[in-house]
């Protein structure tokens, strides 16, 4: 088992109800959940690997492959939808040449659509690495990803 995994587990007792928090912690540390890590969690919590997968795949938050350096979350909330989020999405996909759920080949950006960032008053918005960009227009999207 990797050393970092031990440090993650040291914060928990291994009880069943900690399962989601453990998975969250691992994803926070490593960016995603690998098959090996899922096996480690199964051992630690005594929950069968299939069940760990069952829980992990149920929730939107968990990823099973690495993400890019910059994590873009596009809000697909109602206010954003009404204020033109589909066009923002088109433009981001067009600029980065990837689809939702994918990562650019150079590993710089990954694009994900999420339920709602809760910034509806300033729709449409996206979140890049925990920072919200609000009141976006397709034109501004172009500038966001301009290579320096």
């Amino acid at each position: 088992m990797e050393k970092n995994m031990e440090s993650v587990f040291s914060k928990f007792t291994g009880q069943r109800h900690e399962l989601i928090q453990i998975l969250q912690k691992i994803q926070e540390e490593f960016g995603y959940l690998s098959d090996e890590q899922i096996a480690n969690v199964s051992e630690f919590t005594k929950v069968p690997k299939s069940k760990v997968y069952g829980v992990a795949t149920f929730y939107e938050q968990f990823r099973f492959s690495p993400i890019g350096k910059n994590h873009i979350m596009l809000c697909r909330g109602t206010a954003c939808h009404v204020k033109g989020a589909p066009r923002i999405l088109d433009e981001i996909e067009n600029q980065l040449k990837i689809k939702t759920g994918e990562t650019t080949p150079d590993g710089e950006y990954s694009l994900e659509a999420v339920a709602c960032i809760g910034c509806c008053a300033l729709a449409p918005c996206i979140m890049i690495n925990n920072e919200v960009k609000a009141n976006l227009t397709p034109d501004e999207v172009k500038n966001l990803f301009k290579k320096n």
């Binding site: 009880q15 069943r16 109800h17 900690e18 399962l19 989601i20 928090q21 998975l23 969250q24 069952g54 829980v55 149920f58 929730y59 939107e60 938050q61 968990f62 979350m73 809000c75 697909r76 909330g77 109602t78 206010a79 954003c80 939808h81 009404v82 204020k83 066009r87 088109d90 433009e91 067009n94 999420v114 339920a115 709602c116 960032i117 809760g118 910034c119 509806c120 008053a121 300033l122 729709a123 918005c125 925990n130 920072e131 919200v132 960009k133 609000a134 009141n135 227009t137 397709p138 034109d139």
Partner: protein
């Protein structure tokens, strides 16, 4: 130091802070303020005042609710009332520093209004402006005024006085007062709060739990985020009172992981409360023990359903169970559990800070008190508002919200998120209360209000919501799992012009069946957006059957054309088109090859406003 001393000290400190002797600058720094550029504004104030040797206190506060005017700052100086400024840019910030801070001359041009005693020339009193005049701020009264990181600010504004009062009473008396207040659950269905508590209180068990649902899953709603980011202690105080009333010693706050700032402020507030024995063992010597743990939700809309939320806290897949038994009898780990929404619990703290009768004076006979709403979409003044129940939608949208931008035509307002429905113009006069909204085919929900204008396609909106619910369906029961998928397929066909009249009847029939037979609240309400749009906007469905999208939204039906009269051959659209569907040489008129066009609208967006040469049509020619 005992609590009384701490509270007295807090009161003094607060009076000093707001005395105006040292100028006080408040920076709105909830998520909306931050994303609008509050950090930059704060930096300017910090650096400039330092450079100019202006002594002042700069304080980050939460959200005052006027998100449309973010970034927002307020200045309290000398005996003047607090002056609230909106839409602050770096240039405006410098002007305010020059004029207001250095020369005692508030900049009326940028001021939204004043708060507190006294008046200023050319600046209205904020509570007399249309935005606030119709509001009654009970739960939100501290938001944007106090620092969410300072428990002393909460103390100075009657904070925890409700708890002290409550701990001196018997739990039964507390439940009685909540009954008197008429408070109903603010999370959706509006079940009387006291009744739920009573059921839990009456169930005998060695352990009981209290859960606060802060998983605000409705897309289009942000009341809970704003409240926690601005005034976390009002939630904690409400939780302690509730736990004492039902006899729970452990509480959980189930909060979305997408709200990092709210989570951070919550953690800090819990630690502060623990340090002063407002949480922990033998709270304030009452013999009552209570601790609060925060659980981060992992992103599942269905966890708004009580039994699914409980499964999630237990570390399972968030799948609901049939009820009864209700969680108040058999919930978390099989023990009696109360689940209340953030606003419900924060309201409890206010009811005990004052009294039940005072709260019950607001609202209608069956829906008492106030309710917060998140105003968003095609409306001038977006933001977080709090109004007495029974107010009309018209007052909310036109007086508080200022109407529709660019004087476009109002089409509908969506309430209750994916479980709610769309209310048309004809019903704008109905009162906003639990029962009237149900009659209109929608629900109160947690308080999201998304306004739509003539450019919104109602069939597209229905498709959008069903796409959301069919993805969020947990898959346990067949009507929801498969029924919503079918609803989506039919709607998708309609938006692509591939459906006929019979399909609309099928939507209705299927929708009613899903409502009647689904296991939990998600499926029982998911067809509401479809059924209400068919009920009120049937003409739009009919148009789509005839292969027309009147709002010019549905990609499968609309078309784009270049106006040869207006096109100057600037070549911008040519370069922007992702499918090479545009032909034409620079300085010559361009043309869209319809067979190649995917209706993405990028050319329309890229055509410079001064030419405006691309037309959108509601159908294919």
């Amino acid at each position: 130091m005992d609590l009384e001393n701490v509270m007295n000290k807090a009161k003094k400190g607060w009076a000093e802070l707001y005395s105006g002797k040292t100028p006080l600058i408040l920076i709105g720094a909830a998520t909306c303020g931050k994303s609008a550029g509050a950090a930059k504004v704060k930096e300017i104030f910090t650096e400039e005042t330092k450079k100019r040797n202006i002594e002042c206190n700069i304080m980050e506060v939460g959200c005052i609710g006027m998100c449309y005017a973010e970034p927002l700052i307020c200045i309290k100086k000398s005996d003047d009332p607090l002056v609230c400024y909106g839409n602050i840019t770096p240039e405006k910030a410098l002007e305010i520093i020059n004029s207001h801070l250095e020369n005692d001359n508030p900049v009326s041009e940028y001021a939204l209004g004043t708060i507190g005693k006294g008046t200023l020339k050319d600046i209205p009193e904020l509570h007399e402006t249309p935005v606030l005049k119709n509001q009654v701020r009970i739960v939100l009264n501290n938001c944007g005024i106090i620092s969410p990181s300072e428990i002393s600010h909460y103390f100075a504004n009657n904070g925890y006085k409700g708890l002290i009062k409550a701990l001196q009473q018997k739990p039964a008396d507390i439940i009685e007062q909540v009954r008197e207040s008429g408070l109903r659950g603010r999370g959706g269905a509006g079940f009387p709060t006291w009744k739920k508590w009573q059921i839990c209180r009456d169930t005998k068990a060695d352990k009981k739990f209290l859960i606060c649902n802060a998983d605000e899953g409705d897309p289009g709603a942000f009341m809970n985020r704003s409240l926690i980011e601005s005034d976390p202690h009002s939630l904690i105080e409400g939780m302690i009172i509730s736990a004492y009333a039902i006899g729970a010693n452990t509480g959980y706050i189930y909060c979305r992981a997408e709200y990092p700032l709210a989570l951070a402020r919550l953690d800090l507030a819990i630690k502060q409360a623990e340090n002063l024995n407002l949480l922990g063992d033998n709270i304030l010597g009452s013999g009552f023990d209570f601790t609060i743990k925060v659980k981060e939700g992992a992103g599942a809309f269905v966890c708004g359903e009580e039994t699914a939320l409980i499964a999630s806290i237990e570390g399972e897949r968030g799948m609901p169970c049939p009820r009864p038994p209700f969680p108040a009898v058999k919930g978390l780990w099989g023990k009696p559990t109360i689940i209340n929404n953030v606003e419900t619990l924060a309201t409890v703290s206010r009811i005990f800070q004052k009294d039940a009768k005072w709260f019950a004076q607001y609202g209608t006979d069956k829906s008492k008190g106030t309710k917060t709403f998140a105003l968003a979409g095609e409306i001038k003044r977006t933001g977080l508002i709090e109004v007495p129940l029974g107010i009309t939608l018209k007052t909310i949208i036109y007086d508080i919200g200022g109407g529709i931008p660019e004087d476009k035509e109002f089409k509908a307002v969506q309430t209750g998120g994916p479980s709610g429905g769309c209310v048309p113009k004809e019903l704008l006069d109905i009162p906003v209360d639990y029962d009237s909204l149900v009659e209109a085919g929608t629900i109160m929900g947690s308080g999201g209000l998304v306004v739509m204008n003539e450019n919104t396609c109602m069939v597209d909106v229905a498709r959008y919501f069903i796409d959301f619910t069919q993805k969020e369906s947990c898959g346990k029961c067949v009507p929801c799992r498969l029924g919503n998928k079918q609803l989506f397929r039919i709607l998708d066909d309609i938006t692509k012009g591939k459906a006929d009249k019979k399909d609309i009847d099928m939507l209705k029939k299927l929708g009613q069946n899903i409502k009647a037979t689904s296991l939990c609240g998600l499926g029982q309400t998911s067809p509401n957006p479809v059924l209400t749009t068919i009920r009120y906007f049937k003409n739009e469905y009919d148009a789509h059957i005839e292969k027309k999208c009147p709002a010019k939204v549905c990609k499968g039906l609309i078309s784009f054309e270049i106006d040869p009269e207006k096109c100057t051959g600037c070549h911008i659209c040519f370069k922007a088109c992702p499918t090479d569907a545009i032909i034409g040489k620079p300085k010559e008129t361009h043309l869209i090859i319809q067979e190649k066009c995917i209706q993405c609208g990028i050319c329309y967006e890229s055509c410079p406003d001064k030419f405006n040469a691309i037309n959108v049509f509601s159908s294919r020619n």
